[in-house]
């Protein structure tokens, strides 16, 4: 037993070493957000900052709160719209039997793999024509389109866990598909739907490329605001650090919520826990 205890300690040490590789860079940025410009780059480094120094955050928030609000509207909006479109489709692909079913599923999945950069200019022209450029609405529509394939596939993988007998029994009792969807499938897949929603939320929250193409001023999202800070000649690193911390809070909190379903989500439902 003693050798196995020692082995565990060694392995644990390695695990902690790896964890530090993945967390220390983030912590250094977090600490930086509590320092002024000089302290951020002082040599030798100031290892532990004064955590009561909040000036970076107050400056940042007062300059950028409207971009944060834009980001939240776009992210929450596209998450909701994505679910409204995807859940019924995922349900249909799971429980209906029709010709071309597999083809349709594959087709939906393959649109997920298309690079957004290849769609940017045509969508730009389309939204310019519709007079919707630089609007939150346009961003919600585009993010939704890019997230639907993911949402359909992952929700379908969760719907598939519902016992078929349950569905068939309700059909025999005369329930409509819509009733089954709303009263059986959705309540039974709450956990899965939450997983999908969290992923879609994070994808939209993190998006940069499309927002770069589509927004000029009114609809600029928080990532656009941050990247603009870095393109200036003189980077004010305190502000950048504070903005980075603010931007990172939702993904970090939500990842902790995701826990076990993260593999399943990242592989589009292919791997189950």
């Amino acid at each position: 037993m003693r050798t196995s205890a020692r082995k565990n300690i060694i392995l644990l040490a390695f695990a902690i070493f790896f964890m530090l590789i993945f967390i220390l860079p983030n912590l250094w940025m977090l600490f930086g957000s509590f320092k002024d410009q000089n302290a951020m780059f002082s040599l030798p480094p100031i290892w532990i900052p004064d955590f009561t120094y909040l000036k970076n955050f107050t400056i940042m928030l007062s300059q950028s709160y409207m971009y944060l609000i834009n980001s939240l509207i776009v992210t929450i909006g596209s998450t909701i719209v994505t679910l409204i479109f995807s859940l019924p489709t995922a349900f249909g692909l799971t429980f209906f039997i029709f010709r071309g079913q597999n083809f349709l599923a594959d087709w939906i999945l393959s649109t997920r793999m298309l690079p957004p950069v290849a769609a940017a200019v045509p969508l730009f022209i389309l939204f310019k024509y519709l007079n919707l450029l630089d609007s939150l609405f346009a961003l919600i529509i585009v993010y939704t389109a890019f997230n639907i394939p993911f949402a359909v596939w992952v929700s379908a993988s969760f719907f598939r866990r519902i016992p078929m007998d349950l569905i068939e029994a309700s059909r025999i009792e005369g329930a409509s598909w819509f009733d089954i969807f709303l009263k059986i499938a959705v309540p039974l897949s709450k956990g899965g739907i939450a997983t999908v929603a969290i992923f879609v939320f994070i994808f939209s929250w993190n998006e940069l490329l499309i927002a770069l193409f589509f927004t000029v001023s009114d609809a600029r999202t928080f990532p656009i605001f941050i990247s603009a800070q870095v393109s200036q000649a003189q980077i004010i690193w305190g502000n950048v650090a504070a903005a980075t911390v603010i931007q990172s809070i939702p993904p970090i909190l939500l990842t902790i919520f995701l826990q076990k379903n993260i593999v399943s989500g990242l592989t589009l439902g292919a791997v189950k826990n």
Binding site: W28, P45, P88, I226, S227
Partner: protein
């Protein structure tokens, strides 16, 4: 059509129409635009030039060819690192999975995956500052090495991008391969133990064969992500120094939105699209297969 058919159609059709309009139409329109010489600022004056954009990109434009080469160099190097490190980490976490604390360590280790790529780029831009960054300081103090401009010289910049990219995605490979290791039946390990197999045999004869499909899935999914690599480049090197870290997505963005050459840009987009479609076809087949295997097990 009877009532049930209408109901069923309502479940599926809206999504299909939506995808056709916002996801399929743009790609087709890109193909159309790629046959023109056109400026985004003067859309009403475009000239049909056929294949010329492709000819220029593929046979004359060194920047674009470098961008393709860089994209694949970065993709293959990152994915190799991710597979090797990810497998080692997965093994470690697999061995200590009974310890209570291992869950917490694992959760903290996977945080980079979901971080905004833009922020990941910024974190490293801060750390890798050549004169005043913490990385230079550590390298100089503990290893006595002279600091260099990690993002300002061609080869170091490329290596830095690969490292940043793998830093964010190694945890993904780790949890994926860990999920794979969990599917290895414990009898196989016991049988190997009785036969006196060493760790190398266990790895090559039992573990790798049974997690192979997970590995392939990881490789393909990562390949798709690497082809569209943009955010990190945009915020750290902007393709530089020179064109040392120019990649396909960034090249397309620059051509379309900095020089407004949407004809050339669309041609470049279409080339990325074709590469993606090839990778995707493989990916979809794999996803279906892995899923089927998982269902039967």
């Amino acid at each position: 059509m009877n009532r049930e058919k209408i109901e069923k159609t309502l479940f599926i059709l809206p999504t299909c129409l939506f995808l056709l309009a916002i996801s399929i139409f743009p790609f087709i329109y890109s193909v159309y635009l790629s046959a023109f010489q056109a400026k985004l600022t003067k859309m009403h004056r475009k000239f049909f030039i056929g294949w010329e954009n492709y000819q220029i990109l593929l046979f004359e434009d060194d920047v674009f060819l470098t961008a393709i080469q860089n994209t694949f160099t970065i993709a293959f190097s990152s994915i190799t690192i991710e597979i090797i490190l990810g497998f080692i980490m997965a093994k470690i976490f697999f061995e200590i999975r009974h310890l209570k604390i291992s869950n917490a360590i694992r959760t903290i280790s996977i945080l980079p995956i979901m971080l905004t790529p833009l922020c990941v780029g910024l974190v490293f831009l801060y750390i890798l500052n050549p004169t005043l960054g913490i990385f230079s300081y550590i390298v100089e103090t503990f290893f006595g090495l002279e600091p260099i401009a990690y993002l300002g010289q061609p080869i170091p910049a490329k290596i830095s991008i690969i490292c940043i990219n793998s830093w964010q995605w190694t945890p993904f490979m780790m949890i994926l391969l860990l999920a794979g290791l969990m599917t290895v039946p414990s009898e196989q390990y016991e049988a190997a133990k009785i036969d006196g197999a060493n760790w190398y045999h266990v790895m090559t004869k039992i573990e790798i064969p049974s997690i192979l499909s997970f590995m392939l899935l990881g490789i393909v999914l990562r390949l798709i992500e690497c082809i569209r690599l943009f955010d990190i480049i945009y915020v750290t090197t902007r393709g530089g120094p020179g064109i040392a870290t120019e990649v396909m997505a960034y090249f397309t963005y620059r051509t379309e939105f900095r020089s407004f050459q949407i004809g050339t840009g669309s041609a470049s987009a279409v080339i990325i699209l074709i590469i993606s479609i090839i990778v995707t076809t493989i990916a979809v087949t794999l996803l279906r297969r892995v899923e089927r295997n998982a269902d039967f097990s």
